[in-house]
Symmetry: C2
Subunit: 151 residues, 2 copies
């Protein structure tokens, strides 16, 4: 194979780190999924929306999108399905008629209240391989990485 790219030690480490970062996320997610914390009728995206509404009250779509790291285009579809399932309602905002506040229905509220502890427990379990100290350190470094900065 032709050598087209020579890398420094640091470059190698960084590329390796990037792969580890992705792998660790999918690994954690697989562990979470393996505990089946969600009821049949909910997908992870749907859960994320319900959770945001549960903890913050009614929210317009673009706020939800930002919270759950999704595009608004995408969210329309997710919320459509939640509406069909009777778990949320779209309530037109009185002040700004572009806005439709997304609101939990009674049924949605009960479902997320019942489901959240399971998911939280699955997440905690999936990360339980780390010591308290590692959790703190990881938290500190990821915070830097997750901060938006100019390139």
């Amino acid at each position: 194979m032709k050598r087209v790219w020579e890398s420094t030690e640091r470059e190698k480490k960084v590329l390796d780190l990037y792969i580890k970062l992705r792998r660790s996320v999918s690994s954690v997610e697989r562990r979470i999924a393996s505990k089946n914390p969600l009821p049949e009728r909910l997908t992870m995206s749907q859960f994320a929306v319900l959770e945001a509404l549960f903890f913050h009250g009614p929210l317009p779509q673009h706020v939800i999108a930002e919270k759950i790291l999704s595009s608004t285009g995408n969210l329309t579809f997710v919320i459509d399905n939640l509406v069909k399932a009777g778990l949320v309602k779209r309530v037109p905002d009185e002040r700004d008629r572009r806005i439709k506040n997304i609101q939990l229905t009674q049924e949605g509220s009960e479902l997320i209240a019942k489901t959240f502890p399971n998911v939280a427990d699955a997440i905690v379990t999936s990360i339980s391989v780390l010591t308290d100290q590692e959790i703190d350190e990881l938290s500190r470094i990821l915070k830097i990485l997750g901060t938006e900065q100019r390139n």
Copy 2:
């Protein structure tokens, strides 16, 4: 809001860590994407396949799937598009006729050789906010998290 879930300190930290983990990945990915390291015609998935082939030579689909963290079902679609674009070929394995080895074409090989350095550079830049020490520490902890273990 009704309190349905009381958490310990550690639980709070872990849930917070999980969010940070996801955010940092999408944040890093956004920074990578913002440098536009890929040519028009390539998606990230396609790039990942080409990269694997470039560094490992021809591979059967299920091996590629494992390397790039994708399902084989999904990969069929990605590779279909690469075949259409003339960047890879499906070559039936002589020994095991279930297997089709995926092989770079001349064009695919040239494209990935030209593209890889851009992507590598974008990744390195996106993580350049971390110090060498933080990279090592993060690498160590993520390795633990990425390891498959019983739940």
